[in-house]
Symmetry: C2
Subunit: 80 residues, 2 copies
């Protein structure tokens, strides 16, 4: 099983935005309609997520999943 990575574009984005908004995971869960468990899996970098669940959360912050040129950081981590 692929290992989790707390620090990836999506996890970092959500965790940062949530804290900036002074929300708890539980509040974000309620406001977005996804399960609390999902918010946790998301922020802790579960490798496999459903796109529409992720979008359900991102949408709350005015964002959405879209193809983006890979960053140097991503390129660096390709090997593992």
């Amino acid at each position: 099983m692929k290992d989790w990575n707390r620090h990836n574009a999506i996890s970092d984005f959500v965790r940062t935005r949530r804290k900036e908004s002074k929300m708890t995971q539980s509040e974000l869960s309620d406001l977005t309609g996804v399960g609390l468990r999902f918010v946790r899996d998301l922020e802790q970098g579960k490798p496999n997520l459903m796109t529409d669940k992720v979008n359900q959360v991102l949408l709350f912050f005015g964002h959405t999943l879209a193809p983006t040129p890979i960053s140097d950081e991503t390129r660096r981590n390709l090997g593992e």
Copy 2:
């Protein structure tokens, strides 16, 4: 069940890039390691996809899924 939408950021991106590269769905499937069925679901806008499968395809085109401002979505996907 949510309906499929052929024209969304991800589907359009993959279909366009694949055709630019003069590849068939089958070739893209082989080259990326995802199933042919997935390439089809992806290009036809299946509402729910696994992020790591999508990334497996996007990576081939030097991209990856990342949170993107909604207002920029259209611009980002039509260009480059």
